[in-house]
């Protein structure tokens, strides 16, 4: 089967990355900043970015909205199950290239029409991958390698339109795809707890975020809450991402809203459905995005637009399966 010449959008060479990682500070420094500053100083037009979490699960919504508000352009996007995060960045027309494992759709909830249209237009160039191969591309980078052998995508158009290359195992003669390391310029990851140095704790599923933090040139952490550094010193098993990988720390309570944050609050299905509905035509789409992103000075305004603390309390009840009334349960 003929291989298509598809693009690799990030650095692959571990020696180039070694030089960067060498220069990264290993000091315990206060890395606190605002969302505005972090997005302004660490994400540049043309950068390749990767978002932590899983599309609508533990996503750094505040940073995503800010990227749109600051009008970042020509970003590369890691589409490693990128759902609501992809939808937000598409609303700002922020990216022009994408590694696709899963994009556009909101899983079983449906497909946002305008986001799909953006991908169908000439505005976005892409290369095809799978969830596993994207995980392993990040792992290759996290391991300090330029590639990893994988057993998926073989024999399919997914493989043909990826940038993977066939190799043979020197021991068994077995055929593998080699997938190239994925080294994003910036990773933005939402976590449960962080200290001012960047030590971070994620509760529940990790998705690809440990490898992502290791693979990326710059790492921005948004956290539900700041904790004293002894939170980590007293139980080093708490540290999901260690400080020396992190460049910026921002405290953003309810930071994954309208996404889910395990052990904190459940998805706001209603708001996500409204957003899906708003994408039915250009006019309602524009009005919706204007209201909820461009019209908000910051993330707290967005939270308040959506019901503020009372809504957060209800989403917390949902998270903990506490039935307050019938209607609530149904909306879950």
């Amino acid at each position: 089967m003929r291989r298509e010449e598809r693009k690799i959008f990030t650095e692959v060479d571990p020696d180039a990355m070694r030089d960067l990682f060498r220069r990264k500070s290993k000091k315990l420094e206060n890395k606190l900043m605002s969302v505005k500053n972090a997005v302004n100083s660490m994400i540049h037009d043309g950068d390749y970015i990767a978002i932590g979490g899983f599309g609508s699960i533990r996503i750094p919504t505040a940073a995503l909205h800010e990227i749109v508000r600051q009008g970042k352009k020509n970003l590369g996007l890691s589409g490693h199950t990128s759902t609501h995060d992809c939808q937000i960045l598409a609303a700002g027309r922020c990216f022009n290239r994408c590694d696709i494992a899963y994009v556009i759709g909101l899983e079983a909830m449906g497909i946002p029409k305008m986001t799909r249209k953006y991908f169908e237009s000439d505005a976005v160039e892409y290369t095809e991958w799978t969830n596993a191969s994207m995980s392993w591309r990040l792992k290759a980078a996290a391991m300090g390698l330029s590639f990893l052998p994988v057993r998926t995508m073989l024999g399919t158009d997914t493989g043909r339109f990826s940038a993977a290359m066939e190799i043979k195992c020197p021991f068994t003669g077995r055929k593998y795809y080699a997938v190239p390391a994925l080294c994003p310029d910036v990773a933005v990851i939402h976590v449960h707890e962080a200290d001012i140095y960047g030590n971070s704790h994620i509760n529940g599923i990790i998705v690809s975020d440990v490898d992502l933090a290791k693979a990326s040139k710059r790492v921005i952490i948004t956290a539900e809450r700041l904790v004293d550094t002894d939170f980590f010193r007293n139980n080093p098993a708490n540290t999901t991402i260690p400080f020396y990988l992190v460049d910026a720390v921002i405290e953003v309570p309810y930071g994954s809203y309208p996404g889910n944050m395990a052990y904190e609050y459940y998805l706001d299905v209603k708001h996500l459905s409204d957003w899906l509905d708003a994408e039915k035509d250009e006019k309602s789409y524009k009005a919706f995005i204007n209201k909820y992103i461009y019209g908000c000075r910051d993330f707290n305004e967005y939270l308040n637009l959506n019901g503020g603390l009372e809504k957060m309390k209800r989403l917390r009840d949902l998270e903990y399966l506490i039935k307050t009334d019938k209607e609530e349960t149904r909306n879950a």
Partner: protein, 259 residues
């Protein structure tokens, strides 16, 4: 009139293929519903695995995302996507469930695009997600999908996920692990298996009140037909009761008819 809808039938049939003590990776929707039904009925030891990292949860309700909190509820482990995919690659996962916009007679699936030019799709779909990985690495792939000629096509526009590719031996030749591949296809009309000699889809049973001709008319390729075509065992009262009362009381999944 039947006392169940096609989605309830498909889910019940799917759940029966999950023996006790096997492992299965599921997505949201019908597959998850089938796994929950199996676990509550005949497979209490069913090991349910979610690609985002949740392992063996006691699902309290239908998850909306394969990574949401429900997939971690009373789970035995919350881990990473790479760990899940590596368990699949090690051969630890018996079954997976898949769907797609198009399927051909070899069980190749398309969830990437409609059109002839990759860079100018007529319709762009989300892409493989974990589908290609599951279809490559799980031992047995069960496909649950509505059936019509737009979906059951002679040639898929894009092979997102491998079925038997071009026929027997093609998977192995491509480098995929031997012994893997499509196992069953469950639609609103019938249940299909695969013929070992040709790697092609073969009718195993037709749903109650469905005619063979109707199945053929809704298939865009030539189906293999066994000498004796069985009638699908309809959902039992017990299956329907558990499905409606315990598994999906809000009818999020079983409320949708498959067409």
């Amino acid at each position: 009139m039947l006392k169940y809808n096609s989605m309830e039938l498909m889910i019940s049939v799917a759940s029966r293929f999950l023996e006790d003590g096997v492992s299965v990776s599921v997505g949201t929707g019908a597959p998850c519903t089938a796994a929950m039904l199996a676990q509550k009925l005949h497979a209490p030891n069913l090991l349910i695995i979610f690609e985002a990292g949740g392992i063996a949860p006691l699902l309290p309700s239908m998850p909306i995302s394969v990574g949401d909190s429900r997939t971690m509820y009373k789970a035995y482990q919350t881990t990473s996507m790479a760990e899940i995919m590596e368990a699949l690659q090690r051969g630890m996962v018996d079954y997976c469930f898949l769907g797609g916009a198009q399927i051909d007679m070899y069980g190749n699936l398309n969830s990437t695009m409609i059109g002839t030019e990759y860079d100018s799709p007529k319709v762009r779909f989300p892409g493989s997600g974990g589908a290609n990985d599951f279809g490559s690495l799980a031992w047995k792939t069960i496909i649950v999908t509505p059936q019509n000629v737009r979906r059951f096509v002679p040639k898929v526009d894009f092979v997102t996920t491998p079925g038997y590719l071009t026929g027997p031996g093609a998977r192995e030749k491509a480098g995929l692990p031997p012994g893997t591949g499509p196992y069953k296809v469950i639609t609103n009309l019938a249940v299909f298996g695969y013929d070992q000699d040709t790697g092609r889809m073969v009718i195993e049973s037709i749903h109650p009140e469905v005619k063979l001709d109707e199945v053929k008319k809704n298939t865009g390729f030539k189906l293999l037909i066994k000498d004796e075509v069985l009638v699908t065992e309809p959902p039992t009262d017990e299956e329907l009761k558990i499905l409606r009362e315990d598994v999906d009381p809000l009818k999020l999944i079983i409320g949708r008819e498959a067409k």
